[in-house]
């Protein structure tokens, strides 16, 4: 049975003035995979995420999510296709509580508009209860369930803020979750817990694409790895193979292959 391709990038290119950040990038992510994108600094990894989620518009190429065209779609429509993400520099809603932060994640799953909100119609109230329950569930999933839900988001410790972003992404019930450097700034213990969390996300049926610099984590949890260098894919395959690839080694060590 052929695996379903949830995300497919084909020949994706992005230029910033004279700089080519991503050059002819082609790779896919299959349903149920945990795939990692790695590469030295400036390789174009976060740019790729920004292209997928509509934060940047690509110059050339195509992006498909679950067979549907996602090229140049605005971010909120890409989210509607089932893609959720976290950010390298944590982008919390600092003006809301942790519960509200996660509830926003489920925005596309709810419907109440301005009219039913102003009048607090019964349908809207039911929806709010369901949204809050879902948000609490996601907080429990990432390990933040013990905190009071009205806790102000900015008051969380850094590691907890990262987890909050993951909870927010999960609230969307996405097909695919993009984790942008989730382990950055985490302690060894926190990173180990993160690895377990990523596994449990996969068990929920959600596909994971992550970018990170922590090689141990990446090699341990990923099914496949894509290696970028200067915006170009230089290797793709199982973690073991990629680790031994001479081109990859050279890229990280700065030697000519």
């Amino acid at each position: 049975m052929p695996a379903e391709v949830l995300l497919q990038l084909t020949d994706v290119t992005k230029r910033f003035g004279g700089l080519v950040a991503v050059d002819g990038l082609t790779f896919g992510v299959e349903r149920g995979q945990i795939k990692a994108v790695i590469g030295p600094n400036g390789a174009g990894k976060t740019t790729a995420f920004n292209l997928i989620t509509g934060v940047y518009a690509l110059d050339e190429g195509e992006i498909e999510v679950a067979g549907k065209r996602a090229t140049r779609l605005p971010s909120h429509e890409v989210a509607g296709l089932g893609v959720a993400r976290t950010f390298q520099n944590v982008q919390l809603f600092g003006n809301m509580s942790i519960l509200e932060n996660v509830m926003v994640g489920a925005h596309a799953r709810a419907r109440a508009g301005l009219l039913s909100a102003s009048l607090r119609l019964p349908a809207m109230r039911l929806e709010e209860v369901a949204l809050a329950e879902r948000a609490r569930e996601c907080l429990r999933l990432v390990g933040l369930g013990k905190l009071p839900p009205e806790t102000a988001a900015p008051s969380l410790a850094f590691g907890q803020q990262r987890l909050l972003e993951v909870a927010r992404a999960l609230a969307a019930e996405p097909l695919l979750v993009l984790l942008d450097e989730p382990a950055a700034g985490l302690s060894t213990a926190e990173t180990a817990r993160l690895g377990e969390l990523v596994e449990s996300i996969r068990e929920l049926g959600i596909t994971v694409l992550l970018v990170d610099h922590d090689m141990d984590l990446v090699m341990q949890i990923s099914d496949e790895v894509v290696v970028l260098d200067h915006g170009v894919k230089i290797a793709e395959g199982a973690p073991r193979e990629v680790q031994r690839d001479p081109g990859v080694i050279a890229a990280y060590l700065g030697e000519e292959p």
Partner: protein, 299 residues
């Protein structure tokens, strides 16, 4: 006796270019501060008002005109620096809205001081030289028009030299292009900020002093002049010095022609142009096209 159409056109053009050069100087003041700080200085118009009022007071008190103008310039330069020290520096890092309101508050305060010192009425100021008009064919041009255009030209030249030939000027240009990079090479950002306010004060003060003989000096003249100067800056491309001047000249001319068509809507011309520019090409005529993923003006 009404002038034939071509003569009228020439007349509008002359007054338009004259007023436009004043707008250009005011716009330059906005641009300097915006380049150094990213702030829009709502009190810029008040620099103009103070320049006008101080100049006319000095002139009334018997000072020879050049001295009166220089005194006004110096005073408003200090005013600009003082504004930066007392209201802007302590609020560094504040949000856009906060900064906007601070400069708005400062402009209200300055207007209040102006009214307190000079009263609510419009005050006349002597022309720099003879008030007799010069006839250019069927149209006439006042000597003051020539003074204005000449002084603005000289100032632009002076600023250009400052930017090209002096260390300070180059430092300011560096800040305008990339503040962080400038700081990294050792340019003291805080001092640049104060300098930009001081220089803007000087430009505003000078603008007020040279336009007062034509427009009279009044405590609230800064509101409209400031706003229109800002419109000119947007038109030319905020952040861009030649753009500011070009925007000013263009705006002055268009406004003058518009007033010829329908005098009541004269003020609307400036705001209308600004809105059109903001919506169609927010970087203005000469501004750089904004980069994606770092746009200030638009999403």
């Amino acid at each position: 006796m009404t002038l034939p159409a071509a003569a009228q056109l020439l007349q509008y053009l002359i007054s338009g270019l004259t007023l436009g050069s004043v707008y250009g100087m005011i716009a330059l003041g906005f641009t300097l501060i915006h380049n150094a700080t990213g702030i829009v200085n709502f009190a810029q118009g008040e620099f103009v008002a103070f320049g006008a009022l101080i100049a006319l007071s000095c002139s009334e008190a018997g000072l020879p005109m050049p001295l009166a103008v220089l005194t006004a310039m110096a005073a408003v330069t200090l005013l600009g620096a003082a504004l930066e020290r007392t209201a802007i520096r302590p609020a560094r890092g504040a949000s856009v809205i906060t900064l906007i309101i601070i400069t708005i508050g400062a402009s209200i305060l300055l207007r209040g001081i102006a009214m307190w010192q000079w009263g609510p009425n419009a005050l006349p100021m002597r022309h720099f030289s003879s008030e007799a008009p010069i006839h250019v064919g069927p149209a006439s041009i006042l000597r003051q028009h020539l003074w204005i255009m000449g002084i603005v030209l000289a100032t632009m030249l002076g600023l250009w030299l400052l930017g090209e030939r002096t260390q300070v000027g180059k430092a300011m240009r560096a800040c305008a292009v990339d503040r962080e990079a400038a700081q990294l090479v050792g340019i003291p950002a805080a001092r640049m900020v104060m300098l930009s306010f001081a220089l803007s004060g000087m430009l505003g003060g000078l603008a007020g002093a040279i336009v007062a003989p034509l427009s009279m000096g009044q405590y609230n003249m800064g509101i409209m002049l400031g706003l229109k100067g800002f419109c000119a800056a947007i038109l030319g491309g905020i952040g861009n010095a030649p753009g500011a001047v070009l925007g000013g000249l263009l705006l002055g001319t268009l406004e003058s022609l518009g007033a010829g068509v329908c005098s009541g809507m004269k003020d609307a011309v400036a705001f209308g142009i600004m809105l059109i520019v903001l919506l169609v090409r927010p970087t203005g005529l000469l501004g750089r096209k904004a980069r994606q993923g770092g746009t200030e003006a638009r999403r």
